[in-house]
């Protein structure tokens, strides 16, 4: 009993010490990763470009709002987090941030007043950004962005998540070492690694989370890095490993997807749409090639040499009448067919066709499409209910719209259709229930009402 009490007291004391440490130990911020001269001026245009690489605008601009004036809602498992105003406004923006304070926000998630920022701000990835890019960003936000006075809504998470000091313990557990990345000597690969791992923060969505909700890896060396994650209920597909669909894409297809959100296989959707719209489409040709070289080589150094698979021709001839399976059922169009394929013929066949192969760069393939077969069917359900749109980009200016079917199909029908798609052609994924669909329809309605 005595021993037990002694242990208990010990634990309480230890807890108090840790708490005091969290509260009172001074926060040490990461210094500049390279010594640049005091009077260093970033090359013309490099600030705006670094902003594109890091996609600051996607989060710091409200839907339809003034760029960088904040107020965008970011849904997190803890509650709604609002991005803040990062225009150089003295009172409501970051006009009074010094370079060191700015760097501390990017590298260590520390606000000017010393408060800890929620990891919705991707400092876990930005802490690998080069000093040159930090300086370019600082110059851009201080000198090129117009100050906008906008206080925006305050983030108010429920207890205990509103205790920002708690984020400090999370950082101890979840963050990796700051610093620039190791070099392999292959310039394109190294540049690609930098872009993806640091400013591009691709891992924030595409890397699974560990027990403390940190990213399970931050660089190509970590086996779990880019092995697939989840964002807003959608699967962010793995970009490496045997389950990654992009393994079977040619380098051109991968590049086209990044630059325009569309290629011969897929159309961009969900959160990735913003990444293409606000960030990737602005990458220079060389930087896109670097990202492609890096992604293709990741964990599979020989991938660069693999011949891309040859696609069958894409005309009416391709609809081989002797084909079996799903295609045969859809082609025969027997009135007694099951509801799933019937709904496909009535609603989807016009654009995605009986072989589920769509049309190059216009209608995505549904056969083998990671969104269709993702572990979470949320993306598929949302796409059927609400439709989708590939944004306009410089290389492909026309946006591609897929109609919404939520008003045309009941929840039971969407579930039947989605279940059919997930097992059609070569696809093989779990069934979807009516309850899954009802839940997503309610989410969409709540969001529309909140707009």
């Amino acid at each position: 009993m005595i021993t037990f009490l002694r242990i208990l007291t010990g634990l309480v004391l230890l807890g108090l010490v840790v708490l005091a440490a969290i509260l009172f130990m001074p926060v040490r911020t990461t210094p500049a990763l390279a010594a640049l001269p005091e009077d260093y001026t970033p090359p013309e245009g490099s600030g705006e470009y670094a902003m594109r690489l890091a996609d600051c605008s996607a989060c710091h601009t409200a839907e339809g709002g003034v760029p960088f004036a904040g107020g965008r809602k970011i849904e997190s498992p803890l509650g709604t987090i609002y991005s803040t105003n990062i225009t150089p406004d003295e009172d409501t923006g970051i006009g009074s941030y010094s370079l060191d304070e700015f760097r501390a926000a990017l590298y260590d998630g520390i606000r000017q007043d010393g408060a800890h920022l929620y990891p919705a701000m991707p400092y876990a990835n930005y802490r690998k950004m080069s000093e040159a890019d930090v300086r370019a960003l600082y110059a851009f936000f201080m000198d090129e962005v117009e100050p906008v006075s906008n206080a925006g809504p305050e983030t108010a998470l429920p207890f205990p998540f509103n205790q920002r000091w708690g984020i400090r313990t999370w950082k101890w557990a979840a963050l990796s070492e700051p610093g620039e990345l190791s070099s392999t000597g292959d310039a394109a690969y190294d540049r690609g690694a930098y872009l993806v791992e640091a400013p591009g923060h691709c891992g924030a969505c595409h890397t699974p989370r560990n027990l403390v909700m940190g990213e399970a890896g931050y660089t190509a060396m970590d086996g779990d890095f880019l092995m697939g994650g989840e964002i807003d209920g959608w699967t962010a597909p793995p970009l490496r490993g045997p389950d990654s669909a992009i393994r079977n894409w040619s380098a051109e297809d991968l590049k086209l997807y990044l630059a325009s959100g569309r290629n011969n296989h897929a159309g961009v959707n969900g959160e990735m749409q913003l990444v293409v719209r606000d960030s990737l489409q602005y990458f220079t040709n060389e930087d896109l090639d670097a990202v492609v070289a890096y992604l293709r080589a990741l964990g599979d150094p020989a991938a660069g040499d693999n011949a891309p698979p040859v696609d069958p021709p894409r005309t009416a001839d391709r609809l081989d009448p002797s084909a079996g399976g799903t295609q045969a059922v859809l082609t025969a169009a027997e009135p007694g067919m099951a509801l799933g394929p019937r709904l496909y013929l009535d609603n989807c066949n016009a654009c995605h066709f009986v072989d589920g192969r769509g049309a190059d760069q216009v209608f995505p393939e549904l056969d083998g499409n990671p969104l269709v077969t993702a572990p979470s069917a949320t993306g598929l359900i949302d796409t059927i209910l609400n439709g989708a749109e590939v944004p306009s980009t410089t290389v492909r200016p026309y946006s591609l719209r897929m109609p919404d079917f939520g008003h045309r199909l009941s929840d039971e029908e969407v579930a039947e259709l989605a279940t059919f798609l997930r097992s059609a052609w070569s696809n093989s994924a779990d069934a979807v229930t009516t309850a899954d669909v009802t839940a997503r329809r309610e989410t969409a309605e709540e969001r529309a009402a909140a707009e």
Binding site: N349, C351, F353, D404, R408, L409, S410
Partner: protein, 231 residues
């Protein structure tokens, strides 16, 4: 008589877009199999008076008769016409209506009436019924089928004396009856896609690429409506 403007526009038909885009533009939250609507006898017209409603019921039944295959009544064509007249089509919202109107001009010069479609129905039905009272001592709806047939024939051959601004009544009625039989069910007619099923039209399915090379093979599936309803 050439009356191009009388059709509710094709654009209006498809609900704001052509082809596949038609699928995007549906306002009515109808799900696949909608419940059976109010029977026609109990339908409360939005535009027509009770007397006009009786006229339109009898007249459309005569133009597309019911038999072994469905007619205007089974397809709820009168409902379609009533709803159209109660809407922008009835009030000629997107027509040029500022005149000058020379109602008795040569019919080859097209639509010359100062009246909107809704007004043509209102005044035209009253005029035809008055003529029926005069010649047969009963309004159109109460005449024997054979007599109705004769009156309708006379109307179609301009032999019912009508003031010039009403002379388009028969063509308007015939045009709207066909539209009500074949327009998408979301407009109130073509109930359960009776018109489409009758002629084998597969509805808003939009693409038949896999059927292009199949000659003389009947297409097996029934139609689908813009609402997703399956026939």
């Amino acid at each position: 008589m050439p009356l191009p403007d009388w059709k509710t526009t094709r654009r209006g038909f498809l609900g704001g877009g052509a082809g596949a885009a038609a699928l995007t533009a549906m306002a009515v939250p109808l799900h696949a199999q909608s419940p059976e609507p109010e029977p026609l006898e109990n339908y409360a017209p939005e535009y027509f008076t009770a007397e006009e409603w009786q006229f339109v019921m009898s007249a459309t039944a005569l133009l597309i008769p019911s038999g072994p295959t469905p007619g205007a009544i089974e397809a709820r064509v009168p409902v379609f016409i009533d709803l159209q007249l109660a809407s922008g089509f009835g009030s000629a919202d997107d027509w040029y209506m500022a005149g000058p109107h020379i109602a008795d001009a040569d019919p080859l010069l097209g639509w010359q009436s100062p009246l909107t479609p809704a007004e043509i129905y209102r005044e035209g039905i009253a005029a035809v019924n008055a003529w029926c009272e005069q010649t047969h001592e009963a309004p159109f709806a109460d005449l024997l089928p054979q007599t109705q047939q004769e009156v309708m024939t006379a109307l179609s051959e301009d032999e019912v004396p009508l003031p010039p601004e009403l002379r388009g009544l028969f063509d308007l009625l015939l045009q709207n009856t066909k539209e009500g039989f074949f327009a998408d069910p979301k407009y109130g007619g073509n109930h359960r896609m009776a018109g489409w099923t009758h002629i084998g039209f597969p509805g808003a399915r939009a693409s038949f690429l896999e059927w292009v090379d199949k000659h003389n093979v009947p297409y097996p599936l029934g139609p689908v409506a813009i609402s997703g309803e399956r026939g």
